[in-house]
């Protein structure tokens, strides 16, 4: 677990980059720090592995204040990925990936096995890339290697500073998907910096939205989208936030909340799996691909049908419900 207790960062005695930030990241949780540039998200991230000094407050990593830990040792136990990948041009891919295990003194066999495993995890062929050099790889491949390198010594915590920010949208999308798959397998505690709210919504278990070094809201993506705490949050997530939130729910969620209707066998039917996201459902309904969307569960049993009205009702319920029990102001 990473705990931030009243953490501040002051530059040159006056400029506050991070202002009294407190929040917790639970074990295995994927937390996105998001905000406009200059909001202090990168500084906050870099204070965890002490690349930036903490001016005030404490960051607690597994019940120990990071200030008390040996900088070199603690960094070797934290995976670190940066935007420009930072691969070492003088080293082969294998040496790059295995740098931390090498520093930790792993033996050759163990290193080799780990390299093969990691390369398979990120979907690159180990033998094909082992002896190659960073400049020979595409941007997407380099960034995958950057992720593999951070995972090399199996650190419990990962810090990622806009790891997919420099990639083109198609490759970025693919790497995001891949990384979510990897995270399902490795279940790291991740702190991830992004300036892109869509990336944050897609990737994070929780989102911490920052402005001028302060946390504006820290919550699950659907809460941030449906119940923005103030005007800044609502503006930052965008006016289409309800549409964005549809990608977070599946038909199953809708079924649980508002229920499905019986379906009409005579009408033109299109069958959809119940784990399909509402965003896709909405798009299908608006496309008028069929008179009815019939929902099937994993075994092909038809559970009921669904119209735009259902989606509307569901979203109203979601936006209307208020987790904190505080009345929402309409902006």
């Amino acid at each position: 677990m990473i705990q931030f207790n009243d953490v501040s960062k002051v530059y040159n005695g006056s400029v506050k980059a991070v202002d009294n930030v407190s929040f917790n990241v639970e074990d295995g949780e994927f937390v996105i720090l998001v905000g406009p540039s200059g909001c202090g998200k990168t500084t906050l991230l870099r204070m965890v592995n002490q690349l930036e000094e903490i001016t005030e407050g404490e960051i607690i990593l597994n019940n120990q204040s990071v200030k008390e830990l040996n900088k070199i040792e603690m960094r070797r136990k934290i995976g670190y990925v940066i935007q420009s990948n930072g691969l070492f041009p003088n080293m082969t891919i294998e040496k790059n990936v295995m740098i931390v295990p090498d520093l930790l003194g792993w033996d050759r066999k163990k290193r080799q096995d780990r390299f093969n495993h990691l390369m398979e995890l990120i979907g690159l062929h180990p033998d094909e890339f082992r002896k190659r050099y960073p400049h020979e790889l595409s941007g997407g491949q380099q960034q995958r290697i950057g992720v593999a390198r951070a995972l090399a010594a199996d650190p419990p915590v990962m810090l990622m500073d806009e790891p997919f920010g420099a990639l083109d949208p198609i490759i970025r999308n693919r790497l995001q998907e891949e990384f979510l798959q990897i995270q399902k397998e490795v279940k790291k505690t991740i702190l991830f910096v992004s300036h892109d709210i869509d990336e944050a919504v897609k990737m994070g278990d929780k989102i911490a939205l920052l402005r001028d070094g302060e946390i504006m809201q820290y919550n699950r993506p659907e809460e941030i989208l449906n119940h923005p705490k103030n005007e800044f949050v609502s503006k930052f997530v965008g006016q289409d936030r309800v549409l964005k939130s549809t990608s977070l729910y599946s038909v199953k969620d809708l079924d649980n909340e508002v229920g499905l209707s019986p379906y009409d066998k005579s009408a033109h039917i299109k069958a959809v799996q119940e784990d399909t996201s509402l965003r896709i459902i909405l798009s299908m309904l608006l496309n008028q691909e069929a008179d009815q969307l019939v929902i099937e569960d994993g075994n092909g049993n038809r559970k009921g049908s669904l119209t735009l009205e259902h989606v509307e009702k569901f979203l109203q319920a979601k936006v209307g419900e208020n987790a904190d029990g505080v009345a929402l102001q309409h902006e």
């Binding site: 960094r75 670190y80 691969l87 082969t92 740098i99 520093l103 400049h135 390198r149």
Partner: protein, 253 residues
């Protein structure tokens, strides 16, 4: 296509230059041999080897001292705590290189007197600067993000220096050494003027006596020495610069 065309044109030009160079060299040597221009080497073989020994000793001592002081100095000056000193040193090195070699020799003679020591000091001072400059430039050219990633993964400052900074700066540092030694070999010919010995003895005797044979028997070995050292260090670059960087350089050019 434009790019390919240019590359072909550049290749053609460099081929023409090479052919002209070797043709000129063959013409020169056949002229020199038929006119007995290398006679002094065959007649005074003992003196020739003495001069060669002196010349190489001048270069070897001053050059290696320069390398072994300038590279560590460059490393120190690029550490964050010496940033101000680095600025000072780089400017001093730039300024120092504008001083003519003859002036440095004269200065050394003024302080130390006539002889090999004065020549060594002058040659040392002249060779330190390019090595220092290239060491600093090479280390500073290492990508900040690469160093940041290294630091973030828990490499110590020493490990960053040896595993990241020096390998990535190797090309530039060796290029500096190459420049320094080639210049050193040429400048060592002037050592004669302050009693330092070397091939300058024959070159300047040849000039004073209007004796082309002595002039050429001194000048040609100096040139060949410089070319040999240049090639030697090109070879060193192949060995010492990490393969990945060499490939990257080829890919760019």
């Amino acid at each position: 296509m434009e790019w390919h065309y240019n590359m072909n044109r550049n290749k053609r030009i460099s081929l023409i230059v090479k052919v002209l160079f070797w043709a000129g060299l063959i013409i020169f040597f056949s002229w020199a041999f038929t006119n007995g221009m290398f006679q002094p080497i065959f007649e005074n073989t003992g003196t020739f080897f003495n001069l060669l020994g002196e010349h190489m000793l001048l270069v070897l001592i001053s050059g290696s001292l320069a390398i072994f002081t300038a590279i560590p100095a460059g490393i120190f000056l690029t550490r964050p705590q010496f940033q101000k000193a680095e600025f000072f040193a780089v400017n001093l090195a730039n300024l120092g290189q504008t001083i003519p070699s003859l002036a440095i020799l004269a200065l050394a003679m003024g302080f130390i007197g006539i002889g090999m020591e004065a020549a060594l000091v002058a040659l040392f001072a002249y060779s330190v600067l390019p090595v220092l400059q290239n060491t600093i430039a090479g280390i500073n050219s290492v990508d900040e993000d690469t160093k940041d990633a290294a630091r973030g993964m828990g490499l110590t400052n020493m490990q960053i220096l040896w595993r990241i900074e020096l390998p990535n700066a190797a090309y530039s540092i060796i290029a500096g050494v190459r420049t320094a030694l080639v210049m050193n070999i040429g400048t060592a010919a002037l050592a004669y003027l302050i009693g330092g010995g070397g091939f300058g003895v024959w070159i300047f005797s040849g000039i004073e006596l209007f004796d082309n044979a002595y002039l050429i028997s001194g000048a040609v070995p100096v040139s060949m020495l410089a070319i040999a050292v240049d090639y030697l260090f090109r070879g060193m670059q192949l060995i010492l610069v990490p393969k990945g960087l060499r490939l990257a350089r080829q890919a760019v050019s």
